[in-house]
Amino acid sequence: MAKLAPLGAVPLGDCAVYVEFSKTLDLEVNSAVQRLATMVHGRALPWVRDVVPALGGLAIHFDPDHKSLTTDALSAALNTVSECLKEGLPKAGDVLRTVEVPVCYESEFAPDLAEVAAIAKVSPDEAVALHAGADYRVLMIGFAPGHAYMGGLSPKLSVPRRAAPRAIVPEGSVAIANDQTVIYPYAISGGWSIIGRTPLTVFDAERQEPSMFAAGDRVRFKPISRAEYQKLRTK
């Protein structure tokens, strides 16, 4: 790919900066941003509070009054980014994981599956095969803790968001909209079409690694039966 260069740096107030690389979704830029974020994070700079990769750039949240800073935090953040870019980003394959997520696509967990299948002009089973057969990548985490936006959905399943969002979507619901799929980490409101549910806990603050997903992860879905769902749920 072409050399990664920021479009600009937008201050997010006086305690953070957004270093932007693309204003549209570009998968190569997205992947590079994730690796850049890993690199900046890896420097463990004492004045940096958070490094947040987003779709087209990364935010660096900092303590602007930290005693270790010898220059203003904004310049220090931008210097760090250009140093990392000069050093060269790690290869995608070296840092990315693959996460396999069991999903039960049975009707009680999939209230919108029939409708999605009808829009896609396939049978519900074929819709499941399309969803579970694809390779996904976590493009960004946001909206709620552990809530991963995953790209890679079959264009056949690309349905718009629902006109009326549901007040409560059950925890673990697997949903699709536009070109992406998500898993709801909590019972929250949501406007995506629900086609299955995972028995796994996507975000658990008490766990060593609270979030099941990190930006950049490869994700695969594995269809499971009701019985397997119950077994994994009670584990």
């Binding site: 937008v10 201050p11 997010l12 107030g13 006086d14 305690c15 953070a16 957004y18 932007e20 693309s22 204003k23 549209t24 979704l25 974020a37 994070h41 509070r49 958070d50 490094v51 947040v52 990769p53 987003a54 779709l55 087209g56 750039g57 990364l58 935010a59 949240h61 602007p64 009054d65 203003d72 904004l74 960004m140 985490i141 946001g142 909206f143 709620a144 803790p145 552990g146 809530h147 936006y149 909590y186 929250i188 975000f203 603050a205 008490e206 609270p210 979030s211 997903f213 990190a214 930006a215």
Partner: protein, 328 residues
Amino acid sequence: MSITVLRPGLLMTVQDMGRHGHQHVGLCPGGAMDPLSLALANALVGNYAGDAALELTVLGPDLQFERETLVALVGAEFEADIPINRPVLVSRGARVSISRAARGARGYLAIAGGVQVEAVLGSRSTYIPGGFGGLDGRVLKRGDVVPLAANATKLSRERFAALKNKDRVGTSVKWHVPAFTVPDREPIVLHAIEGEHFGDFDANMQRVFFDTIWRVGPDSNRMGYRLAGPPLTRSKAEEILSGPTCLGSVQVPANGVPIALMADHQTTGGYPRIAEIASADVPRLAQIAPGGTVHFARTTLDLAGQLRKDARTRMENIMRGIAWEYGK
């Protein structure tokens, strides 16, 4: 050692300075809405600035204290049967009644030794949307027992005894700290720099943003403040790519009602960000209750930095005064 909640008030939670380092997995830092008042309350009872305390919202609770305890209520001007903004030694078995806030929206009741709930991801703050932190991850309710340090009474007596004799009256002191985040009058001025999408709004809309006196909507909470006023319409129609947000970001959804992001904000968002509030002004916004009014003043990053330094100097001076009263 504990405190029992006899009546919970409006929205009482355990809060400290929040949990940093998890925004990349979608978890905001959270913590006290007005961290400056929390830091002052803690200093008044001899705690570290980041110890956990009770955050009260608009209407305070009735609490019963198991043993003798040193407390301080700082922030909004709550009507209460203890004096506010100063250390108070509450006696064994006492019932403390805190009613409505006459001015401001949030108060912090710090207790010597801190509130001793389990820390989750390095913080005792209650994160209501995720259901963790604080007491069972939720708002406190009637009958709850808030755990305190086992030696809270010993600490309370030692610390109260350390206060300068001449300034003590009964179970409290003659002096108090200024709750400088609580506004004297409204609308308060929020200094704001241009957000990434400021240019997506035409000159007229930009003027409307800075000319309007915005009213904090009733549907405002710890995640965000909805600001009622003339709808802000963006000149561009195309959706923007979801990007990161920050405490104090002002987003404008399609309905034109701006939302100022507060402590429990989402870490990313797909709405245009028209402005970013100076970090020094966010605790002051946290002191505005629904129905209150705010006004934006255009500022620069340099000035936002100056405001932050001014606030820090002010805090340091007050902290020095408190330390002096404790004979340090």
